[in-house]
Protein backbone atom coordinates (compact mmCIF):
# COMPACT_ATOMS: atom_id res chain seq x y z
CA UNK A 1 0.00 0.00 0.00
CA UNK A 2 1.23 3.49 -0.80
CA UNK A 3 1.71 5.70 2.25
CA UNK A 4 0.25 8.56 0.22
CA UNK A 5 -3.20 7.03 -0.07
CA UNK A 6 -3.62 7.21 3.69
CA UNK A 7 -2.08 10.66 3.94
CA UNK A 8 -4.32 11.98 1.16
CA UNK A 9 -7.38 10.47 2.87
CA UNK A 10 -6.33 12.30 6.01
CA UNK A 11 -5.91 15.54 4.03
CA UNK A 12 -9.41 15.18 2.53
CA UNK A 13 -10.99 14.51 5.94
CA UNK A 14 -9.08 17.45 7.45
CA UNK A 15 -10.25 19.83 4.72
CA UNK A 16 -13.87 18.68 5.09
CA UNK A 17 -13.58 19.24 8.85
CA UNK A 18 -12.19 22.75 8.35
CA UNK A 19 -15.07 23.50 5.96
CA UNK A 20 -17.54 22.31 8.62
CA UNK A 21 -15.96 24.42 11.36
CA UNK A 22 -16.17 27.52 9.14
CA UNK A 23 -19.65 26.97 7.70
CA UNK A 24 -21.69 25.43 10.52
CA UNK A 25 -23.66 27.74 12.81
CA UNK A 26 -24.76 25.17 15.39
CA UNK A 27 -22.34 24.58 18.28
CA UNK A 28 -22.86 20.81 18.33
CA UNK A 29 -22.29 20.55 14.57
CA UNK A 30 -19.01 22.48 14.92
CA UNK A 31 -17.87 19.98 17.55
CA UNK A 32 -18.65 17.14 15.10
CA UNK A 33 -16.47 18.83 12.48
CA UNK A 34 -13.65 19.03 15.04
CA UNK A 35 -14.01 15.26 15.50
CA UNK A 36 -13.48 14.86 11.73
CA UNK A 37 -10.23 16.86 12.02
CA UNK A 38 -8.98 14.76 14.96
CA UNK A 39 -9.74 11.57 13.02
CA UNK A 40 -7.73 12.83 10.07
CA UNK A 41 -4.80 13.29 12.46
CA UNK A 42 -5.25 9.76 13.78
CA UNK A 43 -5.24 8.23 10.29
CA UNK A 44 -1.94 10.03 9.61
CA UNK A 45 -0.42 8.87 12.89
CA UNK A 46 -1.30 5.21 12.29
CA UNK A 47 -0.07 5.37 8.70
CA UNK A 48 3.31 6.75 9.76
CA UNK A 49 3.48 4.17 12.55
CA UNK A 50 3.11 1.41 9.95
CA UNK A 51 5.57 3.07 7.55
CA UNK A 52 8.34 3.42 10.10
CA UNK A 53 7.61 0.31 12.17
CA UNK A 54 7.44 2.45 15.30
CA UNK A 55 4.65 1.95 17.82
CA UNK A 56 4.91 5.53 19.05
CA UNK A 57 2.39 6.55 16.39
CA UNK A 58 -0.23 4.14 17.72
CA UNK A 59 0.38 5.30 21.30
CA UNK A 60 -0.06 8.91 20.22
CA UNK A 61 -3.28 7.98 18.41
CA UNK A 62 -4.55 6.61 21.73
CA UNK A 63 -3.59 9.89 23.41
CA UNK A 64 -5.45 11.82 20.70
CA UNK A 65 -8.55 9.69 21.30
CA UNK A 66 -8.37 10.44 25.05
CA UNK A 67 -7.94 14.17 24.41
CA UNK A 68 -10.86 14.09 21.95
CA UNK A 69 -13.09 12.49 24.58
CA UNK A 70 -12.17 15.18 27.12
CA UNK A 71 -12.64 17.90 24.51
CA UNK A 72 -16.13 16.70 23.57
CA UNK A 73 -17.13 16.48 27.24
CA UNK A 74 -16.03 20.01 28.08
CA UNK A 75 -17.21 21.39 24.74
CA UNK A 76 -20.71 20.00 25.12
CA UNK A 77 -20.84 21.30 28.71
CA UNK A 78 -20.00 24.79 27.38
CA UNK A 79 -22.65 24.46 24.65
CA UNK A 80 -25.20 23.42 27.32
CA UNK A 81 -24.28 26.41 29.51
CA UNK A 82 -24.66 28.73 26.50
CA UNK A 83 -28.03 27.20 25.68
CA UNK A 84 -29.19 27.64 29.28
CA UNK A 85 -28.25 31.32 29.28
CA UNK A 86 -29.21 32.31 25.73
CA UNK A 87 -31.87 29.75 24.71
CA UNK A 88 -29.90 29.21 21.50
CA UNK A 89 -26.73 27.50 20.29
CA UNK A 90 -26.48 29.62 17.14
CA UNK A 91 -22.85 30.72 17.05
CA UNK A 92 -23.70 33.83 15.00
CA UNK A 93 -25.78 35.18 17.89
CA UNK A 94 -22.93 34.86 20.38
CA UNK A 95 -21.56 38.39 20.04
CA UNK A 96 -21.26 39.30 23.72
CA UNK A 97 -17.59 40.22 23.32
CA UNK A 98 -18.25 42.42 20.28
CA UNK A 99 -16.95 45.92 21.02
Amino acid sequence: MLINQFLLLGAVLFSIGVYGVIVRRNGVAVLMSIELILNAVNVNLIAFSALRGDLGGQVFALFVIAVAAAEVGVGLAIVLAIYRNRRSVDLDELDLMKG
Binding site: Y19, L62, A66
Partner: protein, 202 residues
Protein backbone atom coordinates in the same frame (compact mmCIF):
# COMPACT_ATOMS: atom_id res chain seq x y z
CA UNK B 1 14.32 19.42 -0.80
CA UNK B 2 12.98 17.15 1.90
CA UNK B 3 12.28 14.36 -0.56
CA UNK B 4 15.91 13.91 -1.49
CA UNK B 5 17.09 14.03 2.12
CA UNK B 6 14.81 11.23 3.32
CA UNK B 7 15.21 7.53 2.59
CA UNK B 8 11.77 6.41 1.42
CA UNK B 9 11.11 2.71 2.00
CA UNK B 10 9.54 0.37 -0.51
CA UNK B 11 9.72 2.61 -3.56
CA UNK B 12 10.14 -0.38 -5.87
CA UNK B 13 7.82 -2.82 -4.08
CA UNK B 14 4.80 -4.15 -6.00
CA UNK B 15 1.34 -2.85 -5.03
CA UNK B 16 -0.96 -5.24 -3.18
CA UNK B 17 -4.14 -5.00 -5.27
CA UNK B 18 -6.56 -6.52 -2.74
CA UNK B 19 -5.49 -4.20 0.06
CA UNK B 20 -5.63 -1.18 -2.23
CA UNK B 21 -9.14 -2.03 -3.45
CA UNK B 22 -10.31 -2.50 0.14
CA UNK B 23 -8.76 0.82 1.08
CA UNK B 24 -10.48 2.52 -1.84
CA UNK B 25 -13.94 1.25 -0.93
CA UNK B 26 -13.59 2.25 2.74
CA UNK B 27 -12.06 5.61 1.82
CA UNK B 28 -14.94 6.39 -0.59
CA UNK B 29 -17.49 5.60 2.14
CA UNK B 30 -15.56 7.78 4.61
CA UNK B 31 -15.29 10.78 2.29
CA UNK B 32 -18.97 10.68 1.26
CA UNK B 33 -20.06 10.32 4.90
CA UNK B 34 -17.77 13.16 5.99
CA UNK B 35 -19.28 15.40 3.32
CA UNK B 36 -22.75 14.51 4.59
CA UNK B 37 -21.67 15.33 8.17
CA UNK B 38 -20.89 18.91 7.18
CA UNK B 39 -23.73 19.41 4.66
CA UNK B 40 -26.81 17.67 6.07
CA UNK B 41 -29.56 19.88 7.51
CA UNK B 42 -30.35 17.60 10.46
CA UNK B 43 -27.95 17.40 13.41
CA UNK B 44 -29.07 13.87 14.34
CA UNK B 45 -28.39 12.71 10.78
CA UNK B 46 -24.97 14.38 10.99
CA UNK B 47 -24.21 12.31 14.09
CA UNK B 48 -25.27 9.13 12.27
CA UNK B 49 -23.05 9.96 9.28
CA UNK B 50 -20.23 10.64 11.74
CA UNK B 51 -20.64 7.05 13.01
CA UNK B 52 -19.92 5.84 9.46
CA UNK B 53 -16.78 7.99 9.22
CA UNK B 54 -15.49 6.72 12.59
CA UNK B 55 -16.20 3.09 11.69
CA UNK B 56 -14.38 3.58 8.38
CA UNK B 57 -11.39 4.99 10.26
CA UNK B 58 -11.41 1.91 12.52
CA UNK B 59 -11.42 -0.30 9.39
CA UNK B 60 -8.42 1.62 8.04
CA UNK B 61 -6.58 1.02 11.31
CA UNK B 62 -7.20 -2.72 10.98
CA UNK B 63 -5.89 -2.52 7.40
CA UNK B 64 -2.74 -0.91 8.86
CA UNK B 65 -2.43 -3.71 11.49
CA UNK B 66 -3.32 -1.48 14.44
CA UNK B 67 -6.05 -3.61 16.01
CA UNK B 68 -5.87 -2.17 19.50
CA UNK B 69 -6.35 1.41 18.27
CA UNK B 70 -9.21 0.22 16.06
CA UNK B 71 -11.03 -1.41 18.98
CA UNK B 72 -10.40 1.67 21.14
CA UNK B 73 -11.76 3.84 18.34
CA UNK B 74 -14.98 1.82 18.20
CA UNK B 75 -15.43 1.79 21.98
CA UNK B 76 -14.56 5.41 22.74
CA UNK B 77 -15.82 7.19 19.63
CA UNK B 78 -18.83 5.19 18.49
CA UNK B 79 -19.71 3.94 21.97
CA UNK B 80 -19.23 7.09 24.03
CA UNK B 81 -18.67 10.25 22.00
CA UNK B 82 -21.59 9.74 19.61
CA UNK B 83 -23.90 9.11 22.57
CA UNK B 84 -22.58 12.33 24.12
CA UNK B 85 -23.34 14.17 20.87
CA UNK B 86 -26.87 12.80 20.80
CA UNK B 87 -27.38 13.92 24.40
CA UNK B 88 -26.07 17.35 23.44
CA UNK B 89 -28.52 17.54 20.53
CA UNK B 90 -31.36 16.41 22.80
CA UNK B 91 -30.59 18.82 25.66
CA UNK B 92 -30.13 21.84 23.42
CA UNK B 93 -33.08 20.92 21.21
CA UNK B 94 -30.96 21.96 18.23
CA UNK B 95 -32.59 20.51 15.18
CA UNK B 96 -34.71 17.49 15.94
CA UNK B 97 -35.96 17.54 12.40
CA UNK B 98 -34.54 19.53 9.53
CA UNK B 99 -33.13 22.94 10.35
CA UNK B 100 -32.37 25.34 7.51
CA UNK B 101 -30.23 27.53 9.77
CA UNK B 102 -27.68 24.82 10.49
CA UNK B 103 -25.18 26.25 7.99
CA UNK B 104 -24.36 29.77 6.96
CA UNK B 105 -25.88 31.10 3.77
CA UNK B 106 -22.53 32.08 2.28
CA UNK B 107 -20.61 28.81 2.27
CA UNK B 108 -18.32 29.88 -0.58
CA UNK B 109 -15.65 31.25 1.75
CA UNK B 110 -15.45 28.00 3.69
CA UNK B 111 -15.38 25.94 0.50
CA UNK B 112 -12.61 28.15 -0.91
CA UNK B 113 -10.48 27.75 2.22
CA UNK B 114 -11.04 23.98 2.28
CA UNK B 115 -10.17 23.52 -1.42
CA UNK B 116 -7.02 25.65 -1.17
CA UNK B 117 -5.95 23.76 1.96
CA UNK B 118 -6.57 20.42 0.26
CA UNK B 119 -4.60 21.50 -2.79
CA UNK B 120 -1.61 22.61 -0.73
CA UNK B 121 -1.63 19.47 1.40
CA UNK B 122 -1.98 17.16 -1.62
CA UNK B 123 0.82 18.90 -3.50
CA UNK B 124 3.26 18.72 -0.60
CA UNK B 125 2.35 15.09 0.24
CA UNK B 126 2.73 13.87 -3.34
CA UNK B 127 5.93 15.86 -3.73
CA UNK B 128 7.43 14.38 -0.55
CA UNK B 129 6.24 10.76 -0.41
CA UNK B 130 5.48 10.07 -4.02
CA UNK B 131 6.15 6.31 -4.25
CA UNK B 132 6.91 5.26 -0.68
CA UNK B 133 5.06 2.11 0.33
CA UNK B 134 4.24 0.63 3.71
CA UNK B 135 6.37 -2.50 4.18
CA UNK B 136 4.36 -5.70 3.71
CA UNK B 137 6.21 -7.96 6.15
CA UNK B 138 5.74 -5.89 9.26
CA UNK B 139 5.15 -8.60 11.80
CA UNK B 140 5.89 -8.76 15.48
CA UNK B 141 9.59 -8.24 14.75
CA UNK B 142 9.05 -4.97 12.92
CA UNK B 143 6.68 -3.64 15.57
CA UNK B 144 8.54 -4.91 18.62
CA UNK B 145 8.91 -2.37 21.42
CA UNK B 146 12.13 -0.41 21.35
CA UNK B 147 13.99 -0.35 24.65
CA UNK B 148 15.90 2.58 26.11
CA UNK B 149 19.04 1.90 24.10
CA UNK B 150 17.06 2.11 20.88
CA UNK B 151 17.53 -1.53 19.94
CA UNK B 152 14.48 -3.57 19.02
CA UNK B 153 13.70 -6.23 21.58
CA UNK B 154 13.65 -9.72 20.13
CA UNK B 155 10.10 -10.87 19.47
CA UNK B 156 9.14 -14.31 20.69
CA UNK B 157 7.80 -16.79 18.19
CA UNK B 158 4.44 -16.85 19.91
CA UNK B 159 3.78 -13.19 19.09
CA UNK B 160 4.57 -13.72 15.44
CA UNK B 161 2.04 -16.56 15.23
CA UNK B 162 -0.72 -14.66 17.01
CA UNK B 163 -0.03 -11.60 14.89
CA UNK B 164 -1.50 -9.19 17.44
CA UNK B 165 0.31 -6.04 18.46
CA UNK B 166 -1.70 -5.31 21.60
CA UNK B 167 1.06 -6.57 23.86
CA UNK B 168 3.67 -4.50 22.04
CA UNK B 169 1.47 -1.39 22.25
CA UNK B 170 1.00 -1.80 25.98
CA UNK B 171 4.71 -2.42 26.49
CA UNK B 172 5.50 0.82 24.69
CA UNK B 173 2.74 2.73 26.48
CA UNK B 174 3.84 1.67 29.95
CA UNK B 175 7.58 2.05 29.45
CA UNK B 176 8.58 4.85 27.16
CA UNK B 177 5.34 6.85 27.30
CA UNK B 178 4.52 6.30 30.97
CA UNK B 179 4.71 9.97 31.99
CA UNK B 180 2.41 11.21 29.17
CA UNK B 181 0.02 8.39 30.09
CA UNK B 182 -0.19 9.61 33.69
CA UNK B 183 -0.62 13.20 32.49
CA UNK B 184 -3.52 12.04 30.30
CA UNK B 185 -5.23 10.49 33.31
CA UNK B 186 -4.87 13.77 35.25
CA UNK B 187 -6.24 15.63 32.22
CA UNK B 188 -9.26 13.32 32.02
CA UNK B 189 -10.01 13.95 35.69
CA UNK B 190 -9.69 17.70 35.18
CA UNK B 191 -11.99 17.54 32.13
CA UNK B 192 -14.55 15.49 34.07
CA UNK B 193 -14.63 17.97 36.97
CA UNK B 194 -14.63 20.92 34.58
CA UNK B 195 -17.55 19.56 32.56
CA UNK B 196 -19.58 19.00 35.73
CA UNK B 197 -18.81 22.49 37.07
CA UNK B 198 -19.65 24.17 33.75
CA UNK B 199 -22.85 22.25 33.05
CA UNK B 200 -24.52 22.07 36.47
CA UNK B 201 -27.44 24.29 37.30
CA UNK B 202 -27.15 26.85 40.08
Amino acid sequence: MLASAMALPGTDDPINVAQTVGFGIIAAVMVVSALRVVTTRNVVHAAMWLVLVLAGAAAQYILLAAEFVAVTQVMVYIGAIIVLFLFGVMLTRSGLGADADLSRKNWFGGAFVAVVLLGLLSFSLIDTFDDAKIPEDRGAAALAPVDEAGAAAPASGEDAIVGSNTQAVSDTLFSRYLVPFEVVSVMLTAALIGAIVIARKD
